[in-house]
Symmetry: C2
Amino acid sequence: MTFVPTDAARETDAQAALQTAFAPQSVAIAGVSPRTTGWGGGQMFLRAIRNLDRVPQVYCLNPRGGELDDGTPLYRSLAEVPGPVESLISAVPASAILGLVDDAVAKGVKVIHLFTAGFGETGSDERAELESEVLSKLRQAGIRLIGPNCMGVHSTRGGVSWMDDSGSTPGHVGMLSQSGMNASEVVGHGARRGIDFSNVASFGNASDLNEADYLEFLANDPDSHIVLAYLEGIRNGRRFLGVAREMSQRRKPLVVLKGGLTEAGSRAAASHTGSLAGSAQIWDAVQKQGGFMPANSVEELLDLAVTIERMPGVSGPRCAVLGGGGGVSVLAADICDRNNIPVPWFADQTQQVLREFTPVAGTSIRNPLDAGFMLEGDKMETALRAVADDPGIDWLMVHTGADGGGPRGRQDDHARQMAEGLAAIVPKLSKPLAVVIRQARTGEGFERGLDLQHRLNGHGIACFQSIDACALAVRRYLDWQQR
Amino acid sequence: MTFVPTDAARETDAQAALQTAFAPQSVAIAGVSPRTTGWGGGQMFLRAIRNLDRVPQVYCLNPRGGELDDGTPLYRSLAEVPGPVESLISAVPASAILGLVDDAVAKGVKVIHLFTAGFGETGSDERAELESEVLSKLRQAGIRLIGPNCMGVHSTRGGVSWMDDSGSTPGHVGMLSQSGMNASEVVGHGARRGIDFSNVASFGNASDLNEADYLEFLANDPDSHIVLAYLEGIRNGRRFLGVAREMSQRRKPLVVLKGGLTEAGSRAAASHTGSLAGSAQIWDAVQKQGGFMPANSVEELLDLAVTIERMPGVSGPRCAVLGGGGGVSVLAADICDRNNIPVPWFADQTQQVLREFTPVAGTSIRNPLDAGFMLEGDKMETALRAVADDPGIDWLMVHTGADGGGPRGRQDDHARQMAEGLAAIVPKLSKPLAVVIRQARTGEGFERGLDLQHRLNGHGIACFQSIDACALAVRRYLDWQQR
């Protein structure tokens, strides 16, 4: 190694490299098989990038040359590529990696993403050495590395992705993830839940660019208003904490799911990304110092994104719970209470308003309000406004099922009417409102629930999949706000 | 009151009354509106009972007489009914209840179910008094009461139900529930999960027959091999505990979901069924004494039913976790560990077998086995048998998604092949196996997951909806076994 830049210089360099990776002017993909319907990694990236159709120049490499079945040329090597290449995606086997790296140095690429796996994470000394050699060559040339052993970057605005089914609406949630699959699940489930993404990075072994670099990028990214993270190991704890703290001071929300906090998970993380995962106790201290929100699953990451995007005005925990079903109401109250979300009785005045149009039999109007029929027609506005105006209530949770007896058409109408009703009323309410759509039993119910959720998402209304998930997310967001 | 039977006599009487209610020779439904497509309670029971088509005589009552729109006669009162009536279902308003009770006494019915609500649970003294009056009239006549304020009984074998969409396969899981909706949810979701029911009772206010009577019935019911319960209050704690303990000694599994354990839930339970719910501390002691399994949600009741029915041979907690996705594997290991389910590394010999057909890159074979491809074709049998034969492993958990990229047909094939492969291999394995089908993102994925689950259910393979749910259920079942 002839030149070792200072840490600060390397950090700036990292941010420039990530800027390029997320919105390149030119991309080359190495290891593209000729069939455009193929399932290899190269074709996966090509399909996703072509789908987004934003990168001006996309080149495909295959050592045998020739062309794709749609006539696109396959270049034998980077040297053959006619124009400049800013960003290189490698889907070649690890055995071919050193040659590709040499070509990249010669071509002057700025950033390489190695989808290629089979390095330090295998536990083999030989392969860990190969990873070091790759890194050393790249460092000498000033090329930054994403990965190895990862899916790389996804940006609808920049036109890069590994997911050809990710939807294409640019959003305001950023994500860094040491696991490509967890990132894919968050983005995929996010589409269903109305959460659109800005810039997402899957970074695997993190042998060069690490969690602190990605976090810094997203912390300063004006398109990312919220940042989600899935981490296994931490390479640079000091810098990561520094960036997290700075975000916390600016009130930019960061939610972190940490994998490998148990003994079994930690062993799995070592096999997955070669990470040293650390203990739950240490992580607890990190979290307190970093001032970010914790999540325990992929679903919880999204629950918090939904809460932050759709219920930013929630100012306290006291909840009005509304929906049909006495037993469901009892369990809902238990669940809220266990999540430290109080469900206080409504004020007398509120109860009087509700009593006016409630039959005395079979319904409770004290809170939870066990009265599904109140969420239909004209009654809905009166009931929701009365409850929202109760001085003892901070927010409203409406729960509903998507299945149910009766002919299909009636159920569809019910879902549509509920969505339209809520869309008209929610802007008039003095408090934030969340909707819980309980789990479906049938394919029809699932579709109906998706449709209801989609309509509510379209009106900016927060939707959750269970009362538990909703209560927990609101509690965590309030705890973060109140720090 | 002229005659007060002893407790023991009343208890025997209760069992005979329940026998009649679950399999009556004749039923009368009071409060049936003339339109067979109507949504009133009377029509709901009529539709469900006609659907099952097992009760020899079914009579419909309406004070205006006339007939249903399909020509069935509507009797003005019980006195007009030509034959005997063993069981009476009341869907009349509370204001008409005393007249109906007098008619029932005159007719000599054995058991009355009051779907009718609006009694003690409203908190009104006047209505609590009405409930007492009804009870007093019935006691004098020796008629037993289910409810009021409940859905009553469901028995596919006996031909009675309130659910017209409950499926109609008689099974071996019984349930008692103070909430009709929770019972409906358990039966409805049970159909999806391959759990069929024997006898189910929703019993609301429990002013006469109470939780101890229903539990005793199901404890002695040869068709009910497992009993699930949703309870709010306990009317007769001593007897309930006695029956529960006796079941525990016979190793007949009982799983109880207790609503109203928090302050908010307890208030809600008082409004719902007039129950005094008691504290979590007291309940903890009851549970220890009663020797039953706890559940915290409707889903957990079903998770335990699936575990008990499909994995009776699980003899220890040590789990082999198999499926695709490195990050998913790390989180799976964390989740298992948190549920006190160890995920130990496989023995060297097992790892050697797996290594033979695993590429070194991008997969972990230590446990979790991060190798989705191993669950395809010939590799599946070799991988599962090797893992099952590992002396450090007690049971296997296979996790899979139902969504995924690629054309629809390919995904469908994958699900079908996986189901067929598992069905052929599982009987040859030396250890029990569970399948987790992770949450779908799309309607197509949900349908595909349902199809996979349905196929696996058909082969008696245990399916769960999340790794968490699976690990928790197995842990609880083992704890119960090891008592």
